[in-house]
């Protein structure tokens, strides 16, 4: 962005450094002077929360890696050693395991916010696609991390998920053998998962840099979806956005701490405290909760190949949202029909999540199929058609006007993030 003040180094050292590497100005223009719409609500704090959580996961992960042994005979006991004998090892592990869950909580809220306010639309398509890539990387990283403790669920989740690739015609079997590094999930599988689980967070960090770069080129969207027009529409990132983000990071940490200190195993599965046993299949294999909606889509479809295709499509379709949505209006606040279909979509995803945790029999399968149909219809039927038929509400002329019109300038104060807004 141009037009906002640039960094003026004061100390002799910073003046010297700035002429050789203008890092001060990079930080200043990105995180201090960067103009941010004045009407952002608290849903916009989840980007900062995600950056914070990535940091937490990397720091705890690096320390856990110092104590973990990636070998089928020692992995389970080394994790228990962390819990029992490493100083504050229990804290590191519970923080990392629950941190992964809360990373996904934050990313789902972040994505839902983007969908509600049309943040994927022109000129933010690349920003959005980078976000979908980040989500995919998170899914892969989270899955591999779940395998590392080498409990029963770790082992069988690895078996079930890697076996999905066998659905690919002709080469499927060879791909699975190649992924495993053998003819069953075993030590080579665990070793490579560990290697990749350590690598991918840094790939995520790299894509996050691109994501933030794209954000700073296009500028932030806002609850009206109307681009900032004058300086009155924006405030400086620091202190306005930083203090707001910090406050919500604090609240987020309270919820996270509740889980870590009081119910650390609530989100886990008790079977993962049983060491992996290739000879004994658990009665009920379930993935971590954050994959359950996709798991329900997979199981709802009787053909394995079609199920796997639907599973992959359910995530990849997100990348095409900017083009599937034909409406020129961004924010759902001005799109009454889209708003309703979107809330039903959110409910359908939560419903699929519940169904994914249940045994795939009878009514559950039928319900999962109905919700799967809605999931895809939302993208391929509802989104394109709504743009043609929906009667949208009039947009405010500017952000300032929307802030002023309500008497109290609500936009800047932000509504409490409970339930649906507007």
């Amino acid at each position: 962005m141009s037009g906002h003040p640039t960094y003026q180094p004061r100390s002799a050292f910073m003046k010297w450094l700035e002429r050789r590497l203008p890092i001060g100005n990079l930080v200043y223009s990105s995180f201090v002077a960067y103009p941010t719409p004045r009407n952002l609500n608290y849903w916009w704090t989840f980007g900062g929360i995600l950056a914070f959580m990535l940091g937490v996961q990397i720091v705890t992960g690096v320390v856990l890696a110092m104590h973990y042994t990636p070998h089928v005979d020692f992995a389970f006991n080394s994790v228990e050693g962390i819990m029992r004998d490493v100083n504050y090892g229990w804290l590191l592990r519970y923080l990392h395991a629950n941190g992964a869950s809360f990373f996904f909580v934050a990313v789902y809220i972040h994505m839902a916010r983007g969908m509600y306010y049309g943040s994927y639309k022109e000129p933010r398509e690349v920003l959005w696609i980078l976000g979908v890539i980040l989500f995919l990387l998170m899914v892969v990283t989270g899955f591999m991390g779940y395998v590392l403790p080498w409990g029963q669920m770790s082992f069988w989740a690895a078996t079930v998920i890697t076996n999905l690739f066998s659905a690919i015609p002709v080469v499927g079997g060879s791909i699975v053998t190649w992924l495993w590094g053998g003819f069953a999930v075993g030590n080579p599988t665990l070793n490579r998962f560990y290697s990749l689980h350590y690598l991918l967070p840094f790939v995520i960090a790299g894509v996050v840099v691109l994501h933030i770069w794209a954000l700073h080129v296009a500028g932030q969207n806002n609850p009206t979806g109307v681009e900032p027009k004058t300086e009155k529409d924006t405030v400086a990132f620091t202190p306005y956005a930083t203090i707001k983000d910090a406050f919500f990071v604090g609240l987020f940490c309270i919820v996270l701490a509740w889980f870590i200190f009081y119910i650390p195993n609530y989100l886990g599965h008790s079977d993962n405290y049983i060491p992996a046993n290739p000879g004994q299949t658990p009665t009920h294999i379930v993935p971590e909760w954050y994959y359950l909606p996709f798991y329900a889509i997979l199981r709802g479809i009787p053909s394995k190949l079609l199920g796997v295709t639907a599973l992959a499509a359910s995530i990849i379709v997100l990348a095409f949202m900017p083009w599937l949505d034909t409406s020129p209006v961004r924010s759902a606040s001005y799109r009454p029909l889209y708003r309703q279909f979107l809330f039903i979509f959110f409910a359908a995803v939560i419903g699929l999540g519940y169904l994914g945790s249940q045994e795939p029999t009878g009514g559950y399968v039928i319900a999962a199929r109905i919700l799967t149909i809605y999931y895809f219809a939302f993208f391929f039927v509802i989104l394109p058609l709504l743009g043609l038929f929906e009667k949208t509400r009039p947009l405010p002329n500017s952000i300032s006007e929307s802030v002023l019109k309500k008497g109290v300038p609500i936009g800047a104060s932000g509504p409490p993030p409970a339930g649906a807004r507007g």
């Binding site: 804290l91 203090i243 009514g363």
Partner: protein
């Protein structure tokens, strides 16, 4: 339609799902009763006397079949545990025979346990255990209290996040120890199985391990199977989660800090935004 309609649809959808839930899932085993545990809730910690009683049961009854491989004798003297002194833990260790070696002659040998040793397993390997116990392998008990649970379904599991229910493992263990009843009419017990109303599938391999008065208590605690179940389940919870006391203590400190810190951030935020909110025509504010 307005927002209320949308919410109504969402709730209807959720209700529909629950309907499916209750209609389809027939509970295989009864849910064990939820007991009050000294270590439940935000300030709950282990009861030392109970852990000592539970250890006595483990030692006199369970340990003849079940290993406790991840625990060491020194753990008995750890803070937040049963509260034995180091001397007591060493004395307990000395009553166990531990395989060590090889010695200078290349032989493995037996010696009395030391405080740094891990609890020796009752059988040299899984195959030996199966051979001695009619093909059944008793699970290791180190993580058992976290490795067992039961289904209690929607919406209770949501509620449990708020009530901090994490004692499903001990409840299940207590339930199993008290769940040996006569089979329901028409239930065909497979050979070698015992009927247990809380065991998934009802046919458990383990014969009823405890009966009233079997283990002697010196502190006047009733010697009933119900009490034994509570004590040994508490001991096994400690074995699976020996850092629970430290976790809850640190948790309270972290919570107090985070709440105060977040409140300060909130008031700082209010102060920072005050000018923007109350003078919308204000020139674009500059960074401080």
């Amino acid at each position: 339609m307005n927002r209320h309609h949308t919410r109504a649809i969402a709730f209807a959808l959720a209700g529909l799902l629950c309907g499916f839930g209750t209609a389809v899932s027939a509970q295989e085993a009864d849910a064990p009763p939820r007991l009050h545990w000294s270590f439940s809730g935000p300030f709950g910690i282990y009861d030392q006397a109970q852990l000592q009683r539970g250890f006595k049961i483990y030692r006199e009854v369970c340990s003849s079949c079940h290993s406790l491989k991840l625990l060491s004798f020194r753990n008995l003297a750890d803070p937040g545990g049963p509260g034995f002194t180091e001397a007591q833990a060493a004395a307990i260790a000395a009553t166990f025979q531990v395989t060590d070696g090889p010695n200078d002659q290349g032989q493995m040998f037996q010696r009395p346990g030391k405080i740094a040793d891990y609890f020796p397993p009752p059988f040299p390997n899984d195959q030996a255990a199966r051979a001695a116990l009619g093909g059944k392998l008793p699970p290791d008990m180190s993580t058992l209290a976290k490795a067992r649970s039961y289904e209690w379904g929607f919406p209770w599991f949501i509620l449990d996040a708020f009530t901090m229910y994490q004692e499903d493992g001990p409840d299940y263990i207590h339930g199993i120890l008290n769940g040996y009843t006569d089979p329901t009419p028409g239930f065909v017990l497979p050979p070698g199985g015992q009927y247990n109303k809380y065991f998934p599938g009802h046919a458990i391999g383990m014969p009823k391990p405890l009966s009233d008065g079997q283990v002697e208590y010196t502190d006047g605690t009733p010697t009933t199977v119900d009490q034994y179940g509570r004590d040994v389940a508490a001991f096994l919870m400690w074995a699976a989660e020996p850092t629970l006391d430290a976790r809850k203590r640190l948790g309270f400190q972290v919570m107090v800090f985070l709440i105060v810190f977040s409140a300060l951030l909130y008031f700082t935020k209010k102060r920072v935004w005050h000018a923007v909110l109350h003078d919308p025509d204000l020139e674009k504010p500059r960074a401080a």
